[in-house]
Point group: D2
Chain length 494, copies 4
Amino acid sequence: MDERYTIEKITKIWSTENKLSLWQKTELMAIKARVILGLVAETIFLKIEETLKRIPIDIPWWKNRDKEIRHDLNAFLDERLRHLTEELQRYLHEDMTSYDTEEPAFVCMLRESVQIVIRSLEEVCKTLKAMALKYRYTIMNARTHGQEAKLQSFGKRCLTWYVILQLDLNNLKNTVSSLKYAKLSGAAGNYGDMDPAVEIETLKQLGFEPLYGTPQILPRELFAPLAQALCQIVQSLDKIATDIRLGARSGRPILQEPFGKKQKGSSAMPHKKNTIRTEQMEGMARMARGYMNMILEAIKTWEERAIEQSCVERVAWPDLFHVVVHSLKTMNAVLTGLTVYPDNMLLEIADSCGTYASEEAKKLLREFLAERGLSSEVAYRIVQLAAFNALELSGGFQRLRDGIPSTIEEAEVALKEASSLDRPRRESIQDIIPLGHLRHSPQLEATEKEIEGWNVMLFTIFSSRRIRDRWNQIFRPSYQLRREPFLYEKILGK
Amino acid sequence: MDERYTIEKITKIWSTENKLSLWQKTELMAIKARVILGLVAETIFLKIEETLKRIPIDIPWWKNRDKEIRHDLNAFLDERLRHLTEELQRYLHEDMTSYDTEEPAFVCMLRESVQIVIRSLEEVCKTLKAMALKYRYTIMNARTHGQEAKLQSFGKRCLTWYVILQLDLNNLKNTVSSLKYAKLSGAAGNYGDMDPAVEIETLKQLGFEPLYGTPQILPRELFAPLAQALCQIVQSLDKIATDIRLGARSGRPILQEPFGKKQKGSSAMPHKKNTIRTEQMEGMARMARGYMNMILEAIKTWEERAIEQSCVERVAWPDLFHVVVHSLKTMNAVLTGLTVYPDNMLLEIADSCGTYASEEAKKLLREFLAERGLSSEVAYRIVQLAAFNALELSGGFQRLRDGIPSTIEEAEVALKEASSLDRPRRESIQDIIPLGHLRHSPQLEATEKEIEGWNVMLFTIFSSRRIRDRWNQIFRPSYQLRREPFLYEKILGK
Amino acid sequence: MDERYTIEKITKIWSTENKLSLWQKTELMAIKARVILGLVAETIFLKIEETLKRIPIDIPWWKNRDKEIRHDLNAFLDERLRHLTEELQRYLHEDMTSYDTEEPAFVCMLRESVQIVIRSLEEVCKTLKAMALKYRYTIMNARTHGQEAKLQSFGKRCLTWYVILQLDLNNLKNTVSSLKYAKLSGAAGNYGDMDPAVEIETLKQLGFEPLYGTPQILPRELFAPLAQALCQIVQSLDKIATDIRLGARSGRPILQEPFGKKQKGSSAMPHKKNTIRTEQMEGMARMARGYMNMILEAIKTWEERAIEQSCVERVAWPDLFHVVVHSLKTMNAVLTGLTVYPDNMLLEIADSCGTYASEEAKKLLREFLAERGLSSEVAYRIVQLAAFNALELSGGFQRLRDGIPSTIEEAEVALKEASSLDRPRRESIQDIIPLGHLRHSPQLEATEKEIEGWNVMLFTIFSSRRIRDRWNQIFRPSYQLRREPFLYEKILGK
Amino acid sequence: MDERYTIEKITKIWSTENKLSLWQKTELMAIKARVILGLVAETIFLKIEETLKRIPIDIPWWKNRDKEIRHDLNAFLDERLRHLTEELQRYLHEDMTSYDTEEPAFVCMLRESVQIVIRSLEEVCKTLKAMALKYRYTIMNARTHGQEAKLQSFGKRCLTWYVILQLDLNNLKNTVSSLKYAKLSGAAGNYGDMDPAVEIETLKQLGFEPLYGTPQILPRELFAPLAQALCQIVQSLDKIATDIRLGARSGRPILQEPFGKKQKGSSAMPHKKNTIRTEQMEGMARMARGYMNMILEAIKTWEERAIEQSCVERVAWPDLFHVVVHSLKTMNAVLTGLTVYPDNMLLEIADSCGTYASEEAKKLLREFLAERGLSSEVAYRIVQLAAFNALELSGGFQRLRDGIPSTIEEAEVALKEASSLDRPRRESIQDIIPLGHLRHSPQLEATEKEIEGWNVMLFTIFSSRRIRDRWNQIFRPSYQLRREPFLYEKILGK
């Protein structure tokens, strides 16, 4: 993993030093287990433990030996045996096969790494919780298909982000339950000379219980779901990051990634504030999927085992953990320093011409039309037409729209015009409909005549004060967001 | 999915007919919920229900409408509304967005499909359980790295296959817990005009509870682990299938796929009995991974939702289910009809020259050597040398090995020789070591002189009857497999 | 593949009918080859050909037979042999193994499918070429990292889309060259009784040449690059689709997907015009990757072959072709009907305060500053500060920005304010810098005092008319786009 | 990448040192280009070149600066500018955007890495070529579906391995042609202030030509096929490795991985010679696919570019190259040291009872039967029955097969029996058929009576000496392999 994306704690967990020290721990606990079971004298254990803990493992020696015999666990044993008297040597690795030592160590590394993930994930969840509360009344357009949909608070969006990470956390915790297992059941999983009681006791010392019925190694079915759960976290982060990128598009940004005082956006263009950290999240998501797939395939091995999984696990597990934790830390930094522009959220709503209430408008209209014997389809079409009308252009704007420049000079003239046009406020469907201001739109089927009839009818309907009040009510943010307190209550308990 | 791999029940679940009927069910339950909550008169509901259940959905009409308006749920509503009076129309889909209808239906389809998977998986587990018991004493060489390792029973191998499928089943059940959720919370997940009480009641009728805090659709974080769990099952089946293929290699097969009386192995070669069903499992595993990856990415969508996931889910979910269930059914057929050759398992053991006990031999030897002040490394080297000696060739065999033919005529002569050589029984390490029959091997470091010393020493050691008895004991199958009853007890309770 | 995404021509190519008819063609050509080589009398061939072409293959018969003997090619032969006299039977499939028949047929299906892809891809390229010319002077902000960068024409963007599809087309054509190979070299690829001359002649009749040295089947190394090339096309389409989605975000869209007159955007919200077809492209890209990965793994098979690849190829190849051609056709429809809003492109430029020229501004300023002994770093910082100043807010807008509402009532008041604020035209860096209007920004390091100095200096520098002219020049679109004609010339030859 | 799988040359190419030095080279060539075009005085270039080449880049300084400004290319420029006089500074990076510098450097790294891959791949091809020649007459059973099929030489198998690697090499070379492109066309690819003549000249100095029509970066469509080609190589190696593993299964291995004199196969079992290097190849293939997929997705970026690809490319490209080159080197070592057991190949053939000629036997028989008016189906069935008969058991062997032990004691007895049974030579179909020794098989449909008739007929047919000669001929290796010289000629020219 490139050092930019490396998490020091993860590096330590997966270091040679830590791995060998966990191997040693397993070997020692296997002897201790025999002491507990009355099979070996305690003094033996104490002597071995004292010696091995006192003399650090000579890593270069081990590496050389490994190159010679092409067996890392045997090389480790050779290194350790050097320091034991002939008499003590036989107690080390007694009745064990390599993977009886390696598997508990491996699962320990997974467990420690997962704890770091959980802590980092909880950190992001905490940040999102605080944001949900802070932006509880910061209103914005919800967007579906990139289009302005209904109103919501930015707090509600944070709440959704929080909820998906909670789902990921639950998923992760589900898969972690498999990490309670390890094995000491020999080269074919049917023990050979190993006493099952020694397995139980050794694993107990290490915080495990046996999985019965394994081949030489723990079946990788135990770990594949964990890789998926880790990968999924980064996919969710990428989803959140994408929402931020979409909000941060210049023009009228509603969100912005933190940007350092000395930061440079571009070597060429001094005005740039690029969303580089949220963009990176997409790369991280791609990497996480790659590593997950490498790991998933480890399930397949020949018969009682072959070693296809070993090289993959050396690389993909630590790199996947780096990617996950780096992504979580980056996301936490982005969220913590996120700039929110409530003004632009409001201006966006103001410019959306009341369309955020089109659903309620349609419903209310349907009620009024039903009294006149008209179908709900008509209500849909009136609101659709009003929405299209509201966004139609007038005067200079329409001219700009109609003219595709055919020379660069024409383009320059058009830009000058665009720069000098006054930006009018647009009419809202909140007004168009009650006033009967519907106009024909070339984009829709309704005929002039039909529309004429609608306008007359609408004017009549809305002459009632009561109806106008009900109508205006639905456009109020307090109405639009009236169920959000319920969501806060359900999700955050407040 | 090609019809060869299609499961009829899965096809039905994911059919247009079933989907639309589930949409209708959701719509009806949303009205019924309002009846229960006292918001709508029961007669309204009964009239709508009677009408919609009486008049089947006109699928071709729906398809045409969908093409016109490019919105399948709206097209469905249009089809249904045709049959309702103006007065009843407003109750259908009231305050709902498309995915309020589609999501419960979608999760229903997942739930029904998963049940089929679970049943098929349990069937295979049952078969494996029976096999584990049947072959409890059918001894064979365990193989690690493709090499003969220790003795085990074929029942023990079935037990391991059973255990990995149990892990898959548990994993699947873990992920299924997410299928309890659905949503009816409107276009942005903050309800709009939908009353949360109606959501709760509707979902209750359908056997769901609400997930609070969704955007327009259920977050796909809920379903990605399910795709992984399904995919993982096929990976495990491929592992089992590979073990069978490895056992079925001609020459001295220990296993054989069922082969029909009229089956043809090859259009060219009449003698062939090909392992085509277990080989197919590898293809299925590749497909399952492809579909899983398609689904996993559905987590990423823009803001309150976009429709990237829709086409993928239409294709990948049913096809993934077809692949999983077809694979399970195929595997069950293969296992049920599997031919086991105990004779070849025994001949393989007989020919392996006692090496299956090399671990115990090394241990016992270490004990004897320790009394003579020799290190355990020496025990390792003696057993390794004996094993290499046992497998060395003599006479004509060695000549055949040494001669790479340099013409086709030489090859023909060699084949004739090979065909006429008597196959001698090989010496076993069980005999070589006690008799001090070690010989120099060019593959190992030990010098002639060193070996000479070892032979003398071994002969002396094994002159003791007690030692010879202990030695012979470790080569007995009953000794080698003495812990298997413990495994049967732990895993199958017997 | 779901029928929505199915291409009829692809379905036909991969149909059972077509496959069996290609098998028959191969079988016939193998006999014809022998006629040409003088090994078989022509009358034999003509009789067989006449019979087999006259009597259509009985598909249901074939399917039943296949189920019985579990060998589709043998079942096909059995079906055909029924219609031949005993005497003619021996000429059919003579000296051939199944895959001698199947491989040429398979490669034919690939070749036919690829032709459809190429035609569809060329169609999209043609559309993009026309768009590049049409929008040659339709100016817009280029965007990097979602941020407005430099000016470009929309035609230039179409040109880039065109270029990436040309790269894909070249890549595809590179991989297609492997489709010239087939084989008729028997069950182990070393011919058995097959005469290599018959192989050459048969393949020549079918438009192939032999690949020498195959095992039983053509090595899948031949086809994996094709799957990649197909997959890559959809990735590029997804990139283009994403650009359209980004341009179509409501608020001030610059692009819009075609929207039918009767189309409905949403069942709930009548105002919606959703980008459903470009969003679907992302789903298609995910599917294409899934299928590509399934196919890629077919490279791995055991020894002279096993049948892992067969089920995958039955499913993944046709489905991949459906996905690619459907995506190309969809994209062509989207591009052909794409609505372009030149007005909004211009308004976006106008609102970007001249920052599009920040690079040139920095360069020019550097030149002026260098004469005063100032470093280029200062030029960068001045332009950066001017850009930040230009985008700063004033009055009511700043108040809106500063206030995160703490109640829903405050939110309602803020929305009312936002709706009533007049939208001022912003100052451009084109003016800020020459006028010395730089102000302190809390986002940047420059101190008040430093800025004061800069303002004085800038005012002095720009008092020169010549300098002002050069300065204003760089902000002109004709200047910004002055190299685009060169690109058009190089890429389109005009 | 774990250091075990790291290739030093690849590490160097992708090191920070090399990257920054390539950035510097690009920057210098951009100035030199201007000298050539007469835009800048040569002395300027020489001064800059001298300074920058003299003063090494201060990597720690650069790293600190990068952390501060979060822009690695700008940090590099800052580091370099420190050493230039104010007057020279403006010539560095003039009119360029970051990726104008980075892209040529990046493609250089790809090119250098690819050269190493090509050399390593050619090395393996050379080894395989030598093996094909060495084992030209070393006969063995070809295997399809793991079953013994026809005869071939081991040289022919090496030839097939050679051919698939040649396909990979051609594929790689196809994709390498894209590495001739780079770009210097500014932040939006439409040049800004950059003069296209400077781009051409700069790239010429670096050995590139421009790709016209790019956005800010080179479209990743250029590189995705390269990633596929690299990945594909490892898939092919895994295929070869799997064939070796299948040949190396103990019992009667025909191949064996090199095994060092000091190597240890297992910590528990001294007799083991594990195929650890070929097994690792499967892990490598899984990793290669993971990295390829990460890279493939880089095609998708927003508009004129975003930075999703950067982190992936930093990690996945070097790691993919490590994986590919490590795999090639490992495979070369395995092949170079591969032990081939011609004796076991011969014994396998001898034990396969002449079934290797079943295709020719069927054909010849068909001819004889045709003269008696019998269909070719009968020939197929006779040969199939003979093959099944040949492999049937007798006496003690059949008893062993029939008895699934129901206690461990029974198992022990059976093992003792198996160990003491004399291994008879089996009858071959070469004899069974001419002698009319067909027997009923419960596995096939033929009735006793039918078989009786066949036996009589066969005996009659084969009473002819001429027929017996033709029959015996087809079982000769020289007949079976008679087309192999043709293949050697076509592929190796000898």
